[in-house]
Every structure is written in C-alpha cells, then in structure tokens.
Amino acid sequence: MSEPLFDVENLYVSFPDPNHKTLFGQMPMVEVLHGIRLKIEEGTVVGLVGESGSGKSTLGRALVRLLDPVSGSIRFAGTDITYLDENALRPLRRDLQVIFQDPLSALNPRLTIGTIIGRPLQLHGLANGRREALKLTQEALEHVGLPTAFVARYPHELSGGQRQRVGIARAIATRPRFVLADEIVSGLDVSSQAQILTLLADLKKDLGLTIVFISHDLSVVRRLCDQVVVLRHGEILENRPTGPLFEHPEHPYTAELKAAIPLPEVDGDWLNS
C-alpha cells in the first residue's frame, strides 16, 4: 500500500448554469466543487455524505470521469486520468465501475439483462464470444443472489430490489478494482436496503473491492464504511475513519447531521435538542 488507489488534488468542477440558456457566447458557469483533496486507499470503503447540493454525486462522477474537471488532478492507480479522453480511458474503464441510484433509469429498457451485463465483458476482452459472455453474466447474477434465468428478462419485468442487484452484477462482472455506489439504497425499503448493503459488504470482502459509497444518510454509512467524508457546498468539511468521526465529530456540521438523525428509540427531548 505504497500509493493510494485514488489521489485527488485541488479538484474544481463547474457546470453550465441551466438558468442562463443562450445561443451565443460563453454560458455562465456554476462552480460545484471547490478544491477537493482526497486519498482513497485500495481495499477500503469510503462514504461520501452530504445533503442535497453538497456536490457528493459530482465528486463521485468526477472520480470515474463521467464528467470533465475544470482544474486539479485525479490520479487512479498511479495514472493521471484528469484530462484523458474517451479512447484513453477505455482500458481503465473495466476497473472503474458505477452502480447508479435509480436502476430503472440506469438499465436500458429495451435490452435484456444478458445484453446489459454481457456486452461490456466482450468490449473489454474478458469474454470471447457470446457464449462465454453469457456464462460470466450468469455467474455475476448468481453472485448477487439472482436466478441465472434473468439473462432473458427486461429491466421493467423485475422488482426494485432485483433491478438494483442487476446494477451491482453489472458493476462487478468486469472484476473491477473500484466501484462507485451512488445513493444505491435511497429508493429502497428498509428491508431491501439491509439486504443490498449486506450484499455489498460481502462482495467487498470476496473481491477485495475499493468502494466509494455516496449517501445522504449518515446512519447507513456507519456499518459499511471504513472512512467517511462529509461534504457541504462543494467542500470537504471532515474526512476521518468512521468510528472516531461518529464518536467525536470535529466539525459542528457533522455533529448537526448526526443529531438530526432520528434513532429508533423513544427520546422525548430529541425534537427540542
């Protein structure tokens, strides 16, 4: 563990302001991330936590280069990927996988599960031909606890929890080093949420994954993550190992976030604290 898997230095990301749509000239930009510094060690699970508008998803998407940073640098496994283009990124893609928040939107509605999981395997040369891709796809489905017969199904034929498992199967099928999990349990019921998180923890152990887990819910992060990063308004407020962060939050905002979570136990003073 000489070098971290991810090394982010002074990262700035901006978006064009959708409120100022024009035909000509430079569109006004809104800065979403201001000078992020972050190191992620191989084999750890890092929680990115913040409320809406904190920039947590933007940071996640910048890590896997689904968007282009303005300045700063992102090093992945020793390679500077900040400004690599589509073609240069392609060989790295099998190691940079994503699980999306809304699996219904993230799975192409008119492709079968077999195609959705299998095609990337062929692209990265992990499977020669369709038969081998099918075999690996079925293995991936089994790995996430789904029946192999699902290869012939379409996404809309599955339940919400099943779709999210397909999303996970796709991400792990290429045997990546890194997986970004973007709010993957926020649309799910408590019972499916627990199942998916347990599955993710097991996969991490089995496959030695490095995971960045984005969530708006501090309490979900506690069990799964080794390290928690608290974001607000595009800046990192606190970045520490999970246990100490929860026991003694250093930043008042972290303490506020923690205090705002209603624990399932009767406490008459909580509302007024």
Binding site: E51, S52, D189, V190, S191, Q193, A194, Q195, L197, T198, H216, D217, L218, S219, V220, R222, R223, F246, E256, L257, K258, A259, A260, I261, P262, L263, P264, E265, V266, D267, W270, L271, N272
Partner: protein
Amino acid sequence: MSPDKATARSYLDIDDLSIVLKHQPTHRLLRSVGLHVMPGEVRGLVGESGAGKSMIGKTIFDILPRAVEIVEGSVRLGDDELLKLPQSARRKVIARTSALIPQDPLTALNPVRRIEPQITDRLTRILGVSKSDARERARALLDEVHIRDPESVLRNYPHQLSGGMRQRVLIAAAFAAEPKLIVADEPTTALDVTVQKQILKLIAEMQARHGTALLFVTHDLGVVAKICQNVSVLYGGKIVEDTEVKSLFARPTHAYTQALIAATPRYDRPDESLVPVPAAVIEATQHEIAAADDAWLGARQAGGRR
C-alpha cells in the same frame, strides 16, 4: 372543544376495513384493518412500500382509485359514518373536519397558482369564509409556522420557495380550517435530515397547540419513535401490531416488527442494525395473512349463503 369529553372517545375510527381490486374481488389490498386515533393523539402508521399505508389515507379522504372498492368495514369521523353518506355529503364532512399534509412539497403545490389561494381556497370556496377574513387567517397561519414576511410569501408562486418553506406552507394550509384530524403522509421523506428535524418539530408543535388528532404515515421507525405516542404496523394490508411506541421498541411482539426494527440502520449500534429481514419471518407472516384471508372468505361465503 372540551378536552375531557373528547379524550373519552377516538375521533377517527376505522373498523374491519377490507378493500379489493374490482376485477379480482377475492384479492384484498387492505385486510380487515382497524385503526383509531383520539383527539390530541399522534398515531404512527408504519409499513414498507406496498403495505397499503397510502390506501388507508385515500380511504379517509375518499380519493381511492377507481380500480379498487371497499367491500366491508366502516370509517367514522366523529359521529359521521362516511361510508353510509352520499358522496357530496361525505366530501363536505371530510372538508370540514380533516386535512392532509402530503409527502412531496415540490409537487403538492400547484405551480401556476399563488400561495395565498392554495392556503385559503378551502375556507373561501367550501366553508364560506370571506376573502379578507381568509387572508387574515392565512397570514396568522404563516406566522405560526415561522415563516418570515408572510405578506410576500402569500403573493409568491411555489417555485420561488425552498422545499422546507413549501412544506411549512402545506402545514399551514392543513391547519387552516381547524381540522379535528390531520393525516400526514410521509411529510418529511423528500427532505434533507436537518430540514426534516425542523419540520417534525413544527408538526408536533402545531398538533399540540391545536389538540388535533394526527395520523402520521411513515416508513421510518426513527421518525415514529420521536413523534408518535402510539403506532400501528402494517404488512401486506394487515395491521400486525398495534401498541404504544414505548412498548414497540421495548417489547415488539410480532416477528415482522422485530425484524423491521433490526433492519433499521442506526449509527450508535452498527453491528446490531441493518440485519436483513429473515426469509422465514416473511414466510410466516405471509402464511398468517393467507390463513386470515381463508377465514375471511369462508365467513363471507357463509354470510352470502345465509
């Protein structure tokens, strides 16, 4: 209102309520549900998606979808048996006595109407209050929900307010006609945690001040623990547990409730929380429901023959 008398009896009484799909009358979506809320009581209604939580709310407000029908049961608001009234009278009773705080403040306000009529339209159009009185009331209500500068907010359109502000406006609108019953349907699910806490506090404060009966629908046991006195747990359209909140967490009796509590994440006990609901518990609960269905169908068929 004399609180002594009122506490003697519950205000909302749902008994033996069964709802089925019209084209599949043996399949029940709600299974002989009983639910009671006293004046001044805050009762939680907990369940996962598909358990039938919103179906109960829709029954109370007479806005069930056309594809379902009530086959059995009674819904009483005070002295009025809703299911025995003709629709227009029923809606009038509901409008006078009950109000809803909806789930998503971003979609629950009409985007092309100003805030003021959305708070006052029940008063002016249904209850016959004059426009100036209604405006005065709206201003007072916005004060009560801690909105600064109520004058300008009344003139605003929804998109000009933040999510938390909109939820405050919706709470004000719900209390506008001094309802006896308020149903809050997951009112904080769409909000950030820090805003959620403020809104929960506001709802509790308003409820206590007005002595309203409050039915708080949610999937979050944490929220139940903080705001409710009593709780009904719903699974598959059936109330599996009905108890005080204190005893729910101290001694949950039903296996499903126990499993649900164990599945709820908590940062203070990471290793005991987030336990997936065991398949055996789901199986046993579904078995219990099937048995209840058989008994119900048997009784109905016997009743039909008589």
